[in-house]
């Protein structure tokens, strides 16, 4: 049981990573791909923060009555990574907007497909 708990975080991280990976390679919609990339990214954050955790430790802010602190270094690295990740998300979404403006679609398979709008409108009306 102890072994299972000590690896549980890592396994969930890998499951989340693979869900994000699947979202990136199997979905054609570019907004969805960027969301998949973000899922992947967040799983890496969880891996790093898990590595910095000390059982019985506390948030690394100095105060009286606390002896054990968790490792502050992974927190610093992940703070940087979160902000960079948002910058990259913004860039990706800006690219998606440009593609939408130029081709009228953000689906991989339907770039420049003229009947796409009409077809999708029909599907939405029928209700899926």
């Amino acid at each position: 049981m102890m072994t299972f708990l000590s690896f549980f975080n890592y396994w969930v991280v890998i499951a989340l990573m693979m869900i994000g990976f699947y979202c990136v390679i199997a979905r054609g919609n570019m907004v969805k791909k960027i969301m998949g990339l973000n899922l992947f990214q967040t799983s890496v954050f969880i891996l790093f923060i898990s590595a910095g955790k000390v059982v019985g430790g506390s948030t690394p802010i100095l105060r009286d009555g606390v002896e054990v602190y968790s490792n502050p270094l992974p927190h610093v690295l992940i703070l940087t990574a979160i902000v960079v990740g948002v910058a990259i998300t913004a860039l990706g979404l800006a690219l998606a907007v440009r593609i939408q403006e130029a081709y009228g679609s953000i689906e991989d398979d339907h770039l420049g497909d003229e009947d796409d709008d009409a077809e999708l409108a029909r599907m939405n009306r029928e209700g899926r």
Binding site: V31, L73, V76
Partner: protein, 193 residues
């Protein structure tokens, strides 16, 4: 125990994000996902990371996605069935990574390699060196300030890129798709239905 529950919630929400075809719903689910991960960071003693993730992940990213959805279509195009090749690739990669986790040190042990390198030095020295009780802030702005400067450069480059991409007026559309003068109006009607 709380962290196990949060991790299971994260898994469920992540699968829902991949499954759902309505991108607006996906954006909302992603905000929930970010908030759950912020809660998980708080449980794992990373208060600063939790604050940043809640503000930036749940707030700012969601606004960005919603801004894109104001211009693009709300519904994802349906694809038939499962993508078996993608599932196979993901399965093999995941199995290899799970095998690799068996070499990782036990979660939360105080003598993990990550905890015995520079971590103790930062914990002991940051207050005498900087006088800031928050070690994360001290390490971010002082010991690793070059990292933070690099981060600023990356953000600046990304901001320049976004500006360069969005400052161009979409004039070329008439050349690319000559028969779509009314498509913008048609799409508005779709969103309302």
């Amino acid at each position: 125990m709380i962290d196990i529950g949060l991790l299971l919630f994260l898994l469920v929400v992540a699968i829902a994000i991949v499954k759902v075809r309505d991108l607006f719903a996906a954006a909302m689910l992603f905000a929930i996902y970010s908030l759950l991960s912020a809660a998980l960071f708080a449980v794992l003693d990373a208060g600063d990371v939790a604050l940043t993730e809640a503000a930036v992940g749940a707030g700012f990213s969601t606004i960005l996605v919603l801004a894109v959805l104001a211009l693009a279509r709300r519904y994802e195009h349906p694809t038939g069935g499962h993508n078996l090749l993608a599932l196979f690739v993901v399965g093999v990669t995941g199995a290899a990574l799970i095998y690799a986790t068996l070499d990782l040190p036990e979660f939360g042990a105080a003598d993990n390699p990550a905890q015995i390198h520079v971590g103790p030095h930062y914990i002991e020295q940051s207050y005498p060196d900087m006088g800031v009780p928050n070690m994360v802030a001290a390490v971010l702005a002082s010991y690793r300030s070059i990292d933070t400067m690099g981060e600023v450069f990356v953000i600046f480059a990304a901001a320049l890129g976004v500006y360069a991409l969005l400052s161009v007026k979409p004039r070329r559309r008439q050349f690319v798709l000559p028969r779509r003068p009314r498509s913008g109006k048609a799409r508005d009607e779709d969103d309302e239905s």
